[in-house]
């Protein structure tokens, strides 16, 4: 019981960045336990699994079916639980993404094993101990895993991918075709191609200080200047209908941990701070120097956002262009 199964995620044949984070977490745990890492990728045919050895996989299993271009919970659950039952695993690690949050509880329930969700650190030096935020980041649990195997979902951006080259043997298997109790029929993609706030390494969020939905253009322009930033929003502006709920950062929205979080016209209500306080670097732009947002910000600029943000956009364009 010392091996680790890393369940990876792909979209349209390409592995998601978060999969490297999952593999990195799995490698570190397997090393501490003295075991090996099996990577499991489930999807349509033609998934590119090259390079997984570079992040620490000892073996790679591709389970393929042309019917599996979309996430089908019943198939994925059957594949993962079958592999766990046939193996010798201390832990099953996946990402706490939309897919992982749905799949992890299914696997844990079917295997009747513990489930640790949204984990930000794993220690394998004396048994398995996990760290996970609760109360939306206002508190942190440290918990010992007392039964194995254990299903662990890791928070995106919490583990920094690191290379740890192995010669990974790749095996390809066909997927089972169980009855689908739930059937994913399609994915509707939005017109824009902006990253999700929970996944992006840079997030620019706007709040009520923007005064109206039309002024979110300023926030979008700044996000565009960075090239790959997501646009977030405070609860106040989501509740006011200025922005979709998918963009909301905070306790009743998404919890984010980007490299850089820029809060524009957000005062910093406790439930918002709970959702972004684990960001690596926080910048706040607000007219009120006593706003709570400045207490968590690494860098603050006090003043009129309608002057500051366009200037910042211009400067970022210069830096990136130059």
């Amino acid at each position: 019981m010392s091996n680790v199964l890393a369940v990876l995620e792909q979209r349209a044949g390409a592995l998601k960045q978060v999969s490297h984070e999952v593999l990195t977490a799995a490698r570190a745990l397997a090393d501490a336990l003295g075991g090996s890492v099996d990577a499991l990728v489930i999807g349509s045919t033609g998934v590119d699994a090259t390079g997984l050895g570079a992040y620490g996989a000892d073996r790679v299993t591709l389970v393929e079916d042309e019917e599996l271009s979309l996430y089908q919970p019943d198939v994925f659950n059957e594949v993962v639980t079958a592999q766990v039952r046939a193996g010798d695993y201390a832990a099953i690690i996946l990402a706490a993404t939309a897919m992982g949050k749905d799949l992890a509880p299914r696997v844990a329930a079917r295997l009747d094993c513990p489930l640790a969700v949204d984990v930000t650190a794993i220690d394998g030096s004396g048994g398995i101990t996990v760290t996970r935020p609760a109360y939306s980041g206002k508190a942190i649990y440290t918990a010992e895993v007392t039964a194995t195997p254990c299903v662990i979902s890791v928070r995106p951006n919490a583990f920094t991918p690191s290379e740890n080259a192995r010669e990974a043997a790749v095996e390809t298997r066909p997927a089972p075709r169980p009855d689908l109790r739930t059937r994913t029929v399609r994915v509707n993609e939005p017109a824009g191609e902006r990253l999700d706030v929970a996944e992006a390494s840079i997030v620019v969020s706007g709040g009520r200080g923007l005064k109206g939905p039309e002024n979110f253009k300023l926030v979008e322009d700044l996000a565009d200047a960075f090239g790959n930033a997501a646009v977030g929003a405070s609860r106040a502006v989501v509740d006011a209908g200025w922005r979709p709920h998918a963009d909301q950062v905070g306790q009743t929205g998404k919890t984010v941990s980007p490299q850089l979080y820029i809060a524009v016209g957000i005062s910093g209500a406790i439930q918002h701070l709970a959702g972004m306080r684990t960001s690596k670097v926080i910048v706040a732009i607000n007219k009120d120097k006593d706003s709570p947002i400045f207490k968590v910000a690494d860098y603050g600029v006090v003043g009129d956002l309608f002057e500051i943000v366009p200037r910042l956009t211009e400067e970022i364009r210069k830096v990136r262009g130059g």
Partner: protein
């Protein structure tokens, strides 16, 4: 249409968290508790489905301490017909035993639909509804933002990174509600009065311990003090410089 809604009593979002004397749970003294915000969407959806069916019953079920009766009464005041409290002193961190206790109750209820909020804002497991569906062997869709039910079948939409998944299933099923699914109603005074007379059954339950033993609950370290770079647009070059050379994030 027989519908169950599972509820959790949680600390209010504006609550500051203090760690209790045992070092493994929160200090509940002075904390305001509310119905989990995501569960409000679940309650509303159940009530709307019952209304549009013109017949049926909505049952609210909560697993928790005696104080969760108050949470169930909130749902009764919104219009839910009856409540069941599965009473237990403490909930484990591992969501699997919680799912088992709820599945044991729900499995005998012959429900067409079972609603949960997608996540409880205290332990943030995002798991119990989906665990229940697996234990009962029925379909489930998590984080549902749009829902249509007709002729014993359903279509649900759930947001994923950069898109919306469209999922089909047949009843009975478990659905967990995302914010935006609907606009939850406020309990009217008449509803609050009526709620006092609605049946609320209390059943003691024993939970398994689960496989996660809490060693410590702690408050995250305070972020090191930041600094105000300056005022107005003139401060922008200094900010960009700091992000490049100090923070090294751009």
């Amino acid at each position: 249409m027989k519908i169950a809604v599972c509820l959790k009593r949680v600390p209010d979002t504006e609550t500051r968290i203090k760690i209790g004397a045992d070092g493994r749970s929160i200090d509940e003294d002075g904390v305001k508790f509310i119905l989990n915000p995501y569960d409000e969407y679940a309650v509303e959806q159940a009530l709307q489905l019952k209304d549009s069916a013109g017949t049926g019953e909505v049952t609210a079920i909560s697993l928790g301490s005696s104080a969760s009766q108050e949470t169930i009464r909130t749902a009764l005041a919104m219009g839910v017909d009856r409540g069941i409290l599965l009473e237990t002193d403490a909930l484990p961190l591992d969501p699997v035993p919680i799912g088992k206790a709820l599945a044991a109750e729900l499995g005998s209820g012959d429900y067409d639909l079972i609603f949960f909020g997608k996540v409880a804002i205290d332990d943030y497991s995002h798991a119990v509804g989906t665990i229940v569906s697996e234990l009962l062997g029925i379909p489930s869709v998590s984080a549902v933002g749009r829902l249509e039910i007709a002729d014993g079948k359903g279509t649900a939409e759930r947001e994923i990174e950069g898109g919306v998944e469209v999922v089909e299933f047949s009843l009975p099923a478990v659905l967990t509600a995302e914010k935006g699914l609907n606009e939850p109603r406020y309990p009217a005074l008449r509803g609050i009065m009526m709620a006092k007379k609605k049946p609320l059954e209390i059943k003691p339950v024993e939970l398994e311990e689960g496989g996660l033993s809490v060693v410590e609950l702690s408050v995250p370290p305070a972020r090191p003090a930041g600094r105000i770079v300056g005022e107005g647009a003139d401060a922008v070059p200094a900010l960009v410089e700091a992000l490049r050379t100090e923070a090294k994030v751009i």
